[in-house]
């Protein structure tokens, strides 16, 4: 008896925990409060056309699985309680029931068929956009690097190059191709649609039409080495006007340092150009044309640095330029500052605190 009460207690506890735990997920399933999620990478509040098709399929399977779950676990608990014989006893020696067994071969097969048909339909519709959607589409080329993202817009000119953050216009279909410069990565913005691997020697694609403006989080989801966890990205879905303005700004080369910061920023530009920086980074309109690290032409306009790891502000930029290895061990960005006191320590040819401040001031002018 004590045992039986324990079992029911456990069942009750499990149900309560499961319901509490699923609150967000279940609400996702019924799609209410779709604009107030508290998990920026939730997979069940998609805000694009393809994402919603995936969600419809997920809901269908979720509810069917839930019915089977309740049925099987309920039967199991019922049997455990109903047929428990602590004192032992004799049971009838039933060997089977062919009719029953055929039934539970056929019924699951039918359930699976119900899942399989829309699944295959969705596989094909996810593969290529419809003719109407592809007319006005915008192409984005994504390249994965250890451990950051590069974005190019081939139709908008060779100069629209950015890193770790990219922009799309709302309501226009984006056709995104992805590949990799080194190892396999996987490109994913959960609130838009599912992921796709970025594979060296191959070009994959996804497409979606963002339905709501806003800032969306994503990150690499294929293990790609030491800093896999810190290979994050942001998508900004803008109004068409904002997007056009952003494109115009990106198309321009770097602005020469002006305004009140001119002194410090001008020094920073010199330090940047004469140091190791141009070996890896490009700043369009200047001699710096390195291809190893992110394009910095408009780095000052990005909200984050180090692939979504740090907010882009004075303090963090200083920290990053001084001692990148402390922030992101094994990233290709070396520790540069003489004041680096964590990570791998200062390099033999380091840059002084005042030079770091100058470089940071310069980078912050690159709006």
């Amino acid at each position: 008896m004590r045992m039986r009460r324990g079992l029911w207690l456990l069942l009750g506890l499990f149900v309560v925990l499961a319901l509490a735990g699923c609150a967000r997920e279940i609400s996702g399933v019924v799609q209410f409060a779709a604009d107030a999620p508290d998990a920026p990478q939730t997979t069940v509040f998609p805000l694009s056309d393809t994402g919603r098709r995936v969600q419809t399929l997920y809901e269908l399977i979720f509810w069917m699985a839930l019915v089977v779950f309740v049925g099987v676990e309920g039967a199991l608990l019922y049997i455990l309680v109903r047929f428990r014989r602590p004192a032992g006893g004799v049971a009838s020696q039933t060997h089977g029931n062919t009719r029953l067994e055929i039934a539970w071969t056929v019924i699951p097969a039918v359930i699976l068929l119900i899942i399989a048909v829309p699944t295959i339909e969705t596989i094909f519709s996810e593969d290529a956009p419809s003719a109407s959607a592809s007319e006005n589409q915008i192409r984005v080329e994504v390249t994965g690097h250890q451990w950051w993202w590069e974005f190019r817009y081939p139709e908008l000119g060779a100069d629209v190059v950015t890193a770790n953050e990219f922009h799309l216009p709302v309501g226009r279909t984006a056709f995104i191709t992805m590949t990799s410069a080194d190892v396999i990565h996987s490109f994913w913005i959960p609130k838009m649609t599912g992921k796709m691997d970025a594979i060296p020697t191959r070009v994959n694609h996804i497409w979606f039409t963002a339905q709501q403006t806003g800032e969306y989080y994503g990150q690499c989801v294929q293990f790609c080495g030491t800093e896999h966890a810190d290979m994050r990205l942001r998508l900004f879905v803008d109004t068409p006007q904002d997007f056009d303005a952003w494109v115009r700004r990106q198309s321009q080369g770097a602005q020469a340092p002006v305004t009140s910061t001119v002194g410090l920023a001008a020094v920073g530009a010199r330090v940047f150009q004469s140091g190791a920086c141009p070996g890896c980074h490009t700043i369009r309109g200047t001699p710096a044309q390195g291809k190893v690290g992110p394009d910095l032409t408009h780095v000052g306009s990005r909200t984050t640095i180090a692939s979504g790891v740090l907010t882009n502000n004075l303090e963090n930029l200083t920290r990053w330029v001084t001692d990148a290895q402390a922030v992101k061990p094994e990233a290709k960005m070396p520790t540069l500052g003489c004041e680096a006191n964590t990570g791998t320590g200062p390099p033999t040819t380091c840059i002084t605190r005042s030079d770091v401040d100058a470089v940071v001031a310069y980078l912050r002018t690159l709006q």
Partner: protein, 623 residues
């Protein structure tokens, strides 16, 4: 007791060992029961190592932005945790039961190739040790247990961490192949008279099918590992993208092996549950033929679904649809098994002791793993779930909630047969409930983390992602599981010393292992039993119970567990112990060391393998 011919000591270079006890008797043993104990003990030690790795990972992930474990260390932890739990825990625990229980269930005195059996174990140990040498030299594999190309190339993994994994797994593969052939032949050839295939205990069926899977799947990974090793050691370009190699080739080869591997991990547990549930329900297994067909079709289908691990690599819609359909198909035989287990218990007289609870836990938890599996069998849904914690939750419900609960059921069920003593039921219940609750508290929330977009294999995560709470809960769960393991260790230790004496048949068992003493004599059966039907021992005990099968010679054994006494004057010929399986295993270990540290050792090791095998085939037979 049966009189065993006293070994006639042979002299000469190839004389066989004769020590009946002590270290050398274990090192040279070819007794499947002793080899089973070696496998089981080794697997448990690695279970503790893999568990500690898991606890370190969960500690790091308990809170956001944690710096307890460095990024590289974390990557090494999940690589070794996965590799260890799969190849050094669940597989050898299965092998422990194959060795100890299968010959007994078949009514056989040993396996078909006893020395090959010993060889399997020593090679297994060699592979496990080679892989763990990485900890000694502190270059621990950190590329994931799946070792996706081209991250594993020298350009991206310059130190020799990956090599430890390659050579360890390669050597483990040799052990698995040898064991696979051995048990396949054993079950086909050494069945007791009357034990037709459709009278085999279900555990023997799952062992046989598992053996077939091992024989067919391991050659694929062997080839892939050789290619990878050549890329790394000799500069070939199988996976070198700089030379335009396609890194997806590795994924195909790996998963053609690794998906059947999943069934190598789960089928033995399914077999155990199919033994335990009937005994503690007091009923025969419901729908035996359907269960056999289900196991066989799962095994067949397991070779047709590998690319469902690759739905986001851009396979194209046609291939994707095929693999989605084949994956969903596998749910049908799996469902049959679940329903038949439930029907076995339905209408039974359930004795819910620890073994039974573990087995019912298996049914309940495995069902959850199966249902989440259906979700990502649908490729569009998988594009959202792939490589997130939802997958981590899914396969732990299959491999922990499934395999580990099943293996634990086996341990509680057969511990009295192996040791002669029962495990303590009170501590057993504590063990079960801690493990059951800890398991669900750890892996249940991971479903939510995955749905909320938390990727796998990240050493840290920022705040504000909605992942903080469930990560903390999962960590608490992990430590609860650790407590349950402690409870089990206390139980095993206490019961070994002072547990209740079990007697030959403590559970009112149905299969032949319960017809002999506990522990069984080393010749197993003084007189080979005759199987009058399925549940051969049950029919001996209760000839009128209306079992399936003809009542031929049902009373061959005396049915009371004292079969051995009949063998008073029988001369039982048993295989002699041998030095050479150990020597061959050692030689392979040496060749493995050569790959890792000093290439000229490779030919030396391989030469010694040949010497050992020649000596093995020439050594005399005692007696």
């Amino acid at each position: 007791m049966a009189t065993i011919a006293a070994p006639v000591a042979q002299r000469g270079l190839l004389a066989r060992p004769t020590e009946p006890t002590g270290l050398w008797s274990w090192l040279t043993t070819v007794d499947a029961k002793r080899i089973g104990i070696l496998y089981g003990t080794s697997a448990f030690i690695f279970f503790l190592i893999g568990g500690l790795e898991a606890l370190m990972m969960r500690s790091q992930l308990a809170v956001p932005n944690n710096t307890l474990v460095a990024p590289g260390t974390f990557n090494a932890l999940f690589t070794m945790h996965g590799t260890t739990m799969i190849f050094l825990v669940v597989m050898p625990m299965g092998a422990a039961f194959f060795n100890y229980i299968v010959p007994l269930q078949l009514g056989a005195r040993d396996v078909a190739f006893p020395r090959l059996n010993a060889f399997s174990y020593w090679v297994f140990l060699a592979g496990a040790v080679l892989m763990h040498l990485a900890f000694v030299v502190q270059t621990v594999p950190d590329m994931g247990w799946f070792a996706y190309a081209n991250l594993t190339e020298r350009a991206f993994s310059p130190n020799n961490a990956v090599d430890f994994w390659i050579i360890g797994l390669q050597v483990l593969g040799v052990a698995s192949l040898a064991a696979g052939f051995n048990f396949l032949v054993t079950i086909i050839n050494l069945r007791a008279p009357g034990m037709s295939l459709m009278r085999l205990p279900l555990f023997c069926w799952t062992t046989m099918i598992t053996s077939i899977l091992m024989v067919l799947a391991f050659p694929v990974i062997t080839v892939a590992l050789i290619q990878l090793m050549f890329d790394r050691l000799f500069g070939t370009n199988f996976f070198n993208t700089a030379a335009n190699a396609d890194p997806i080739l590795w994924q195909h080869l790996f998963w053609v092996f690794a998906h059947p591997e999943v069934y190598i991990l789960i089928l033995p547990a399914m077999g155990i549950v199919s033994e335990v549930l009937p005994v503690f329900s007091g009923k025969p297994l419901f729908g035996y033929p359907f269960m056999v067909y289900a196991v066989a079709s799962i095994a067949f289908l397991s070779f047709t679904v590998w690319a469902h691990h690759m739905f986001v690599t851009g396979l194209g819609p046609v291939a994707t649809s095929f693999f989605a359909a084949s994956t969903m198909l596998i749910a049908v035989p799996t469902g049959i098994k679940i329903f038949n287990w439930l029907s076995t218990a339905y209408g039974g007289a359930l004795r819910l002791n620890t073994a039974a609870l573990m087995a019912f836990g298996f049914v309940g938890m495995f069902t959850i793993g199966g249902l989440s599996g259906i979700m990502h069998a649908s490729p569009p849904v998988d594009t959202q779930q792939h490589d997130t914690y939802f997958i981590v939750a899914h396969f732990h419900y299959v491999l922990f909630g499934g395999s580990m609960f099943g293996l634990m059921a086996g341990i509680y069920y057969w511990f009295p047969k192996v040791t002669g003593r029962l495990l303590d039921e009170a501590i057993g219940k504590v063990h079960f409930w801690l493990m059951f609750i800890g398991f669900n508290v750890t892996f249940g929330p991971m479903h939510f983390l995955g749905i909320d977009g938390m990727p796998r294999r990240i050493y840290t995560y920022p705040t504000g992602m909605g992942w903080d709470l469930w990560n903390l809960v999962a960590t608490i769960g992990a430590f609860t599981i650790a407590l349950s393991v402690l409870a089990f260790m206390v139980n095993a230790f206490k019961s070994l010393r002072s547990g209740e004496i079990a007697g030959p048949d403590p559970w009112d068992g149905r299969t032949l292992e319960w017809s002999v003493s506990s522990p069984p004599p080393h010749y197993n059966f003084a007189e080979i039993p005759v199987a009058a039907g399925r549940d051969a021992f049950w029919l001996q005990k209760y000839p009128t119970s209306g079992g399936h099968g003809t009542a031929v010679a049902a009373a061959h054994g005396d049915g009371s567990g004292h079969n051995a006494e009949h063998g008073e004057h029988v001369h039982v010929h048993l295989p002699d112990p041998s030095y050479w399986p150990l020597a061959a295993g050692g030689a392979i270990f040496l060749a493995g060391l050569g790959v890792l540290f000093y290439l000229p050792l490779i030919p030396v090791g391989l030469f010694l393998v040949i010497v050992s095998v020649v000596a093995w085939s020439l050594e005399p037979v005692n007696g």
